[in-house]
Each structure stands twice: as structure tokens, then as C-alpha cells.
């Protein structure tokens, strides 16, 4: 599917809105490219799921790309990342090879978790990608743990932790925020508020709808940003990460975003809990073409460059699928490996 970007004037002129961030044109183009890669990768994952090449639960990141890309671009290589079960996009944003991510989805031995994790449990120790976790909110204290570890070891690595807004109702979310604030841990909590915990709207699950305000109970720095805008994502997370690195203070950020697909592959796009019209309306702020058009308008990207990028990504995704398809399954004796050290 080709991307044709509109050259019409954006509603707001944002030509110079990234100037203060010191981002080069190459970086801006890379933001766009990573988002586009995630989009195309996830679309292909959906197809492969349909062909039963991918099993189990498979939660796509389509619609939320700007959050992961902007946030992860704000990190250093020695920073730590925790994700939840919607983790493919974060893994790709971190620069993990699409081949090993697709192979993991296919349950192959060449996958990033050797086929033992699957869609919800992508790991890459070499990139401090500390994993995707499938119990809602259950991974949040682990992120405080790596932050604690950085401080204990005298390193200035920062940890970021992604989770959905539904996780903010879990006990461990609050326990961890308290510990992180109390002990001044260098961790940034990034709540991707896509407005639905599976099929339950924020308004039906949260007494307080501004999720970031939950940090006020812990006197923690907090804020929200437009999660459909990669620049705003980068800006907010960079500020929070820099602050954590300098002062060891945690921050809770709420990314206001939206998923364009169902909760998982077994969930229809709108189902009983949201309307088709709502989804279509939200797609008007699709973070990928929105940013592409902005770059085009700013003269940073050309339609030709976008076409070339599409072709390149198509090849990358095709190669990922081919690699995954041809890779071996884990050997039978691997069943009992790695239960214990």
C-alpha cells in the first residue's frame, strides 16, 4: 500500500516547532521511517496472523506509532526499556531487527526470544530491551528495579516503562509510583492512553480521566502529550528522561493516542464498544501521514523519498517474513532449557 502524502497546507503551521529540539533533518526523516516501518510491519503481521503463521494473542501497534518512536528516540543506548504486551512497535523503534521480531511472532528459534516468548514477550538484552510483559501492569515495578539498579551501580542510565491506561488502575502501578517517588528513581512511566482497556472506555474504568494526574498522589512530575504526534512524544519524553538522568526524579507521562485496530487480532476494529465513525474520525489524526505531510511541507521529505522509503520497507518486511518462514522451530530439547540457570 503506497503512501501518497497531501501537499495541502496543514491546519497549523508547525514548520519550526522542532527547531528547539536540535533535531537534524536526517533524524526527522528517521522518525518518519521508523513509524512507517512499524505500520507496514504490523499490517503484515495481521496478514500472517490471518494465515495462521502467527498464533496466540497478537496486539498491533497501529495508530500508536508516534508514542513509541518519539519516546525511544529520546533514549541513549544504555537506557532500559520495558514494554507490555503491545510490544512489536517498541521493539522496532529500539532498532531490533524486523527479521528476529517476525521470527519471534512465527515461534521460530531465530526469534528475538528464541521462539519462547511470542508476540507479548519480545526481549533483547543487547539493546537493553527488557521485554514485553503480558500481565496488565505487572511489569511496572521491574522498571523501578532497573532504575534502582542504575542508581545503586552509580550509572546514569534511565529506564522508561510503557503500559496502557488500564494498567494505571492496578495496585502495582500505584505501589511503583510511590517507591519511585520516595526513593527518587530515574524512571519515566509512559502511559499510552489509547482510550480503551480492551473494550472498556476510560470513562467507564477510571474515576479520574486525566491519567497523568494519578501521579499527583505521589507528588511526582507529570504531564500529557499528543500521542499522535511524534515530535510531541519526543519532546515530552526527552525532557522527562533528561530530568531523570540529572536529578533521579521520576515522571509519569500520559500519551493520548488511539489504536486503529482491535485490542488484539481476535477483536474486530470497533466491536460493541466504539463506533466505526469514531475510528474513522480518529484516523484523521493518523500519526504517520500527519508527520510525513509536515516533513513534506517543510521541504525535508520529498514524495520521491517517501516512495523510495515505501519500497525499501516493503523489502525489509518481505525479507522478515521470508526469514521467519524459513527459520527452524526451536529443537524439541529446548523445551526444558532455561527453566533454571
Amino acid at each position: 500500500m503506497a503512501t501518497v502524502l497531501s501537499m495541502k497546507e496543514p491546519k497549523e503551521t508547525k514548520k519550526i516547532r522542532w527547531k528547539d529540539l536540535g533535531l537534524s533533518s536526517a533524524q526527522l526523516i528517521d522518525f518518519y521511517k521508523r513509524m512507517l516501518l512499524i505500520r507496514r510491519f504490523e499490517e503484515r503481521a495481521a496478514q500472517e496472523y490471518g494465515k495462521s503463521k502467527i498464533g496466540g494473542f497478537c496486539h498491533l501497534y497501529i495508530g500508536q506509532e508516534a508514542v513509541g518512536v518519539g519516546a525511544i528516540e529520546a533514549l541513549r543506548e544504555d537506557d532500559y526499556i520495558f514494554s507490555a504486551y503491545r510490544d512489536h512497535g517498541h521493539a522496532l523503534a529500539r532498532g531490533m531487527d524486523p527479521k528476529v521480531i517476525m521470527a519471534e511472532l512465527f515461534g521460530k528459534f531465530t526469534g528475538c526470544s528464541k521462539g519462547m516468548g511470542g508476540s507479548m514477550h519480545m526481549f533483547d538484552a543487547s539493546k537493553n530491551f527488557m521485554g514485553g510483559y503480558g500481565i496488565v501492569g505487572g511489569h511496572i515495578p521491574l522498571a523501578a528495579g532497573t532504575a534502582f539498579g542504575s542508581k545503586y551501580l552509580g550509572k546514569d542510565s534511565v529506564t522508561i516503562c510503557f503500559f496502557g491506561e488500564a494498567a494505571a488502575n492496578q495496585g502495582v502501578f500505584h505501589e511503583t509510583l510511590n517507591l519511585a517517588a520516595l526513593w527518587k528513581l530515574p524512571v519515566v512511566f509512559i502511559c499510552e492512553n489509547n482510550r480503551y482497556g480492551m473494550g472498556t472506555a476510560v470513562e467507564r474504568a477510571h474515576a479520574v480521566w486525566d491519567i497523568y494526574q494519578k501521579a499527583s498522589a505521589y507528588d511526582m512530575k507529570r504531564g500529557w502529550f499528543d500521542g499522535m504526534d511524534v515530535i510531541e512524544s519526543y519532546r515530552a519524553v526527552k525532557a522527562a528522561v533528561d530530568h531523570a538522568r540529572q536529578s533521579n526524579e521520576p515522571t509519569l507521562l500520559e500519551a493520548r493516542t488511539y489504536r486503529f485496530r482491535g485490542h488484539s487480532m481476535s477483536d474486530p476494529i470497533h466491536g460493541h464498544y466504539r463506533t466505526k465513525e469514531e475510528v474513522e474520525e480518529q484516523k484523521k489524526s493518523d500519526p504517520v501521514p500527519r508527520f510525513g505531510e509536515e516533513l513534506l511541507h517543510a521541504g525535508i521529505l520529498t514524495q520521491k523519498a517517501v516512495d523510495d522509503m515505501e519500497a525499501e520497507i516493503k523489502t525489509i518486511v518481505n525479507q522478515a517474513v521470508e526469514f521467519a518462514d524459513q527459520s527452524p522451530e526451536p529443537p524439541a530439547d529446548f523445551l526444558r532449557e532455561n527453566v533454571y540457570s
Binding site: S113, M116, G117, P141, L142, A144, F148, L153, V172, T176
Partner: protein, 325 residues
């Protein structure tokens, strides 16, 4: 050989390991300023400072998870749970994260954490403070479960647990913290997964661990007066289980009684008897007898609490039953 109390032996193990490895630290409720709810960490704050002996808020899931995250990047946390009853709040962290991170990451991360604290009944603590949950923990692949019965075993096993790269669930006993015993001088290590014959005998094997080991030993003394020589086996580590030692003893005595404080349903004792039935069936001269805590929540009333727990007479009766006496 010095005679020390159980709590002191555990303190020695932690202190020695903290001296040996700067990445070992202790964290938990009341472990620092208060000197430990049961004084196991007495003096450690003064010795190691607040960076390494850390008081936590009452937030078991939070600090267990924090310990797991820290372990994933190379630290070796000792997480004290004021009791294992409170640790139930952290079981999601232990079951879903500590036990699985290594496996589901394809071996990329390890979780060298020790979670330790008292387990089982003390005196009149009622239903919620008197549980023996070793079978629940041992059910989960990825966790190691240790339940020592003597100060020496406590020290040697805790040192191994701290050095081990796996998550180790270390179950102590409130009733045993003051119990004294000889602890070998100098570096003393007991490997995980190796049981111990606590009393040799030829007539019957009694398998017991933690506090119940002492009930079994007292029962054996009484039985000896009646001419019955019981062999008492302490697995010390519940998972991995020293199956060889158990089978060897049963093959020798041909009779077996398993004593445990926990409830009978799906208990560790049932796991042990299942293994004996499958692997040493022909050696048995009588069905295995189980002595468990009664299948009820712990009552408060003193008389009923006593009735709930395994006792010396119940063990003696069970031994007589397998001896057809």
C-alpha cells in the same frame, strides 16, 4: 563449632555474602532501622549502611518486582518478606516475572533474587498469618524453594541461595528463629537440592522439613523407647527435590511417613509420595502415611490450633500404622 540461634545463622549468611559481593543488598519491611521484625537483620544497617540495607514501605508486590528488575541487570537482592503470608500479594511478581523471565526471554536474562521470610504457624496468629505455602511456590517451574530446619542448614543454604542465579524462595519459621544449634566455623555452604539424613534408622523413613523436622525427631525418640528405629530425612530444598536420598531411604526401610505443616490437598508430601509410589512401589511394605495440618484455615483458639497442627502423637500413630502395630 559455635552454637548460634537460627536468626543469627541467617544474619551471618547474609552479612558474609554482602561482604563478599557488593551487588548483594537486603530490602524489606523493618529490616533496617527496626533491626528486623524478627531481628534476623540485627546490626546489618550499622554494618552496611542504608544503601544496602533498605527499609521498604508495606508494598510487597512493589518491592518484590523492584528486586526482580534489579536482579535482571546484575544485582543480587535479598528481599525479606515479613512473613510469607504477606508475600501472597507479590505472587504475581514471583510467578509471572521472577520464574519466567529467563525462560520467555530465551535465556537472555536471569533473576538472581532471594525472597525470604518466615512461613507457617507461630502461636495464635489466626487464619491469615499461619500458612505453609511451599507447595504453592514449588508448583511453579523456574522457582527454587528451600525450607531449612536447623541453624547450620539455614546458613549454608542461604549462602548458596544468594549465590545462585535462580530466584530462590527461602522459607523460614517464626518458631525456629530462637532455636540454637551448632554452625561450623568459617565458610559454610550447603548446595541447593541436597537433602540430609537427620537420624539414621532401619524400621521406617520419616520425611519432614522446617519446623516439622523437630516434631519428627521428637517422635523418633519416643518410638526408639518402643524399639522402633526411625530414619529421618530432611529434603531441605523442596524444589529441586533430593529424590535419590528419599528413594534410597525408603528402599532401605520399606515404610514411609511424611510429616508437613501444610494442608493436605496437593501438598509437597503428596508429590513426594507420588514419586515413591512410581519409583519404589515394590519396596513398600505398607501404604505411605501423611501427617498434615488439618484441611481448614488456622483457628485462633489455642486448643483448636494445637489440634490443627501435626503433633508428636500423630506422627507416632502414623508410624505405628505403617508398621502395622
Amino acid at each position: 563449632m559455635a552454637v548460634v540461634a537460627f536468626r543469627e545463622a541467617l544474619n551471618q549468611a547474609m552479612s558474609e555474602e554482602m561482604e563478599r559481593d557488593p551487588n548483594v543488598f537486603l530490602m524489606g519491611e523493618e529490616v533496617a532501622q527496626y533491626q528486623g521484625a524478627y531481628k534476623v537483620s540485627q546490626g546489618m544497617l550499622q554494618k552496611f549502611g542504608e544503601k544496602r540495607v533498605i527499609d521498604t514501605p508495606i508494598t510487597e508486590a512493589g518491592f518484590a518486582g523492584l528486586g526482580i528488575g534489579a536482579a535482571m541487570i546484575g544485582l543480587r537482592p535479598i528481599v525479606e518478606m515479613m512473613t510469607w503470608n504477606f508475600a501472597i500479594l507479590a505472587f504475581d511478581q514471583l510467578f509471572n516475572n521472577a520464574a519466567k523471565v529467563r525462560y520467555m526471554s530465551g535465556g537472555q536474562f536471569k533473576v538472581p533474587i532471594v525472597v525470604r521470610g518466615p512461613s507457617g504457624a507461630a502461636h495464635a496468629l489466626g487464619s491469615q498469618h499461619s500458612q505453609s505455602l511451599e507447595s504453592v511456590l514449588a508448583h511453579v517451574p523456574g522457582l527454587i524453594v528451600v525450607a531449612p530446619s536447623t541453624p547450620a542448614d539455614g546458613k549454608g543454604l542461604l549462602k548458596s541461595a544468594i549465590r545462585d542465579d535462580n530466584p530462590v524462595m527461602f522459607m523460614e519459621s517464626e518458631m525456629m528463629y530462637g532455636q540454637k544449634g551448632e554452625v561450623p566455623d568459617g565458610e559454610y555452604i550447603i548446595p541447593l537440592g541436597v537433602g540430609d539424613v537427620k537420624r539414621e534408622g532401619k524400621d521406617v523413613t520419616i520425611i519432614a522439613w522446617s519446623k516439622m523436622l523437630h516434631v519428627a525427631l521428637a517422635a523418633a525418640e519416643q518410638l526408639a523407647k518402643e524399639g522402633v528405629e526411625a530414619e529421618i530425612i530432611d529434603p531441605r530444598t523442596i524444589r529441586p527435590l533430593d529424590e535419590t536420598m528419599i528413594l534410597n531411604s525408603v528402599k532401605k526401610t520399606n515404610r514411609c511417613v511424611i510429616v508437613e505443616e501444610a494442608w493436605p490437598f496437593a501438598s509437597v508430601g503428596k508429590e513426594i509420595s507420588s514419586r515413591i509410589y512410581s519409583k519404589a512401589f515394590d519396596f513398600l511394605d505398607a501404604p505411605i502415611e501423611h501427617v498434615n495440618g488439618a484441611d481448614v484455615p488456622m483457628p485462633y483458639a489455642h486448643n483448636l490450633e494445637k489440634l490443627m497442627l501435626p503433633s508428636i502423637p500423630r506422627v507416632v500413630d502414623a508410624v505405628k500404622k505403617v508398621l502395622y502395630r
